[in-house]
């Protein structure tokens, strides 16, 4: 049966910008960056949390034809920009410190660290509009 979750996918509107954001601002590490010429230069790009080697985040360019026709591609770009993406949740040992560091690097926060019954959490976005949370569990 299924053994392990290995990759989660995030649509991004620009892989170069996403790579810079996820590595330089969020502090994730590059895992895979492979461009395949026979697949129309499809670029398999993934990053991960340092120390958590068995789960990667795939930064997928929103494809046009032959995968999606232009109208569909444009709709996905539009939905992302409206904040209609799913979310990824991260954990942190120190939400306040992580918030300060990430904010200083220019990460856009949707919620400052806030005390919750389950711990301290905060929310932020990537340049495409994807929504992320980080929580310092109680």
């Amino acid at each position: 049966m299924l053994k392990q979750l290995t990759h989660v996918q995030v649509w991004v509107h620009d892989q170069d910008e996403a790579l810079a954001f996820y590595t330089e601002k969020l502090g994730l590490e590059l895992r895979e960056d492979v461009t395949v010429p026979e697949m129309g230069n499809f670029r398999w790009l993934s990053v991960g949390v340092p120390g958590q080697d068995d789960v990667a985040i795939t930064l997928m360019e929103i494809p046009g034809p032959p995968v999606f026709e232009e109208e569909t591609r444009q709709k996905i770009v539009d939905l992302l920009s409206r904040g209609a993406s799913g979310g990824l949740f991260f954990s942190t040992d120190n939400a306040q410190q992580a918030y300060q560091e990430l904010k200083n690097r220019g990460v856009e926060f949707t919620q400052e660290p806030t005390e919750q019954p389950y711990g301290i959490d905060a929310g932020f976005r990537d340049p495409s509009g994807n929504h992320f949370r980080m929580a310092q569990p109680r």
Binding site: H13, R82, T110, D121, G123
Partner: protein
């Protein structure tokens, strides 16, 4: 550089409401976050998110107030100011219109019992009142 839709800038204004609803936010401040003129901003915000920036801000404050009524023992008047509203009278009126009861009655009806640990982002997204019952909505619909 790949084209990024202008709605991404509007989303910044919406995020600003979610992050800083406690502060006295006004339309020019929100419009700046979206890099648009105030008039153009309000129109575009409504077109993209289906309600005016003012409605979004008010319902966010009411949603946060309701959460504080359930989860804290702060006085009603304090909660009103803590969510960025400046008049207890209008707060009570708006709250009643949305939740069908006064803030005190709402608190009595929703004791801080053991409930699912739903992350705040989920709560904020799902528990925000629908704003169609607001007077300004009807005016906007007619205008």
């Amino acid at each position: 550089m790949v084209y990024l839709p202008s709605t991404r800038h509007l989303l910044r204004a919406k995020d600003l409401v979610d992050a800083r609803y406690r502060e006295p936010l006004d339309v020019p401040t929100l419009a700046r976050a979206a890099s648009l003129s105030p008039a153009h901003f309000s129109r575009e915000f409504r077109r993209v998110f289906g309600e005016t920036p003012h409605q979004y801000l008010l319902t966010r404050r009411l949603e946060r107030a309701a959460a504080m009524l359930r989860n804290t023992d702060h006085a009603v008047a304090d909660i009103c100011f803590e969510v960025g509203l400046s008049s207890v009278g209008s707060f009570t009126t708006s709250f009643r219109r949305v939740y069908g009861m006064t803030p005190s009655a709402y608190r009595a009806a929703n004791p801080p019992a053991a409930r699912a640990r739903v992350p705040t982002c989920v709560l904020q997204a799902y528990a925000r009142p629908q704003s169609r019952s607001f007077r300004e909505d009807r005016r906007a619909a007619q205008g």
